[in-house]
Symmetry: C2
Subunit: 179 residues, 2 copies
């Protein structure tokens, strides 16, 4: 699938079949995160890939709106390494999560091209998530991404409305609606 087509057709999906993610697709998903750029190439992220049901259930209990984390055959946690951009100067609170978002989107698009749906999940109790994953002091789960083949025939067809482009984009400064 060409890149732009993947990007505009991709929908976050929370309903998965039990069919596992094939090993070759899993490899491409992980490589896609690895190759994502990061500020100063600091590579502030590590992944923890999960397929064990008990571990997924433990992790799901650390967030809200996480039933799809339990049912997904593959869950990937994006972990922020603290000295590489999470804490410090005010601007840097953006940096690690922004780079995590870049890596997550890469993974989700590669999966989507292979017919595999996905949806992120926030860990509302970050300490809980850190304990489940046995993270070292200061390391934090930025987000999970759940992956799986969509359940049902029309799961891909579900759309969630986006605001019109004219409201989404300003030109040169805030609220200026024409170039």
């Amino acid at each position: 699938m060409d890149t732009y087509r993947s990007i505009i057709s991709k929908r976050d999906t929370r309903s998965f079949s039990a069919q596992p993610v094939p090993e070759d697709v899993l490899h491409r998903i992980l490589q896609s995160a690895r190759m994502a750029g990061s500020a100063k190439n600091a590579q502030p992220i590590r992944l923890v890939a999960l397929r064990d049901s008990a571990r997924k259930a433990e992790l799901a209990a650390c967030g809200q709106f996480t039933p799809h984390v339990v049912s997904a055959p593959l869950v990937v946690a994006l972990v922020l390494v603290p000295e590489l951009g999470v804490v410090g100067a005010p601007f840097s609170i953006f940096r690690g999560p922004f780079d995590a978002g870049r890596a997550a989107q890469n993974m989700m698009l590669t999966a989507w091209e292979a017919g595999i749906a996905s949806c992120p999940a926030s860990m509302h109790d970050a300490e809980c998530a850190g304990q489940v994953l046995r993270l070292p002091e200061g390391h934090t789960v930025a987000n999970l991404v759940a992956f799986g083949y969509p359940a049902g025939h029309d799961a891909n067809a579900g759309t969630r409305a986006r605001m019109p482009l004219e409201e989404f984009v300003y030109w040169e400064e805030w609220d200026k609606k024409t170039p």
Copy 2:
């Protein structure tokens, strides 16, 4: 270009020719950000697209490592709307920037497929950036992305090393190196 090929070949590039980004590609870049998913479909981001040289120079002065923001024919600022996920509960500091990273990566991949390089830039002085863009109270620039055709014949060929996959990915828990 197929999606995975775009993703693994994409390199952040800070050196651009003066050739403008064509209108049709610009449109696809902006649509790519608009269609990015966000937590609860909150759509916490707005874009400000900049092509005016003076404005780009003003904005570049709000960050470090920003000469590419001045030379890029197109700069897009990703603005976080405060009530939609920037501030509040501790976990939500991740949410807006994470969603901004997803939208930014979509834009950069669409550009890359069209032969256009890109690189983010942090705004180290967020207040300065807010003033240049005339942002309302509480709105924040998460990041800029600079776009342009790569300067020189081998600009696309430049690679920055990534850590090996075996160091980047753990399985089921931190530091467990095999599935």
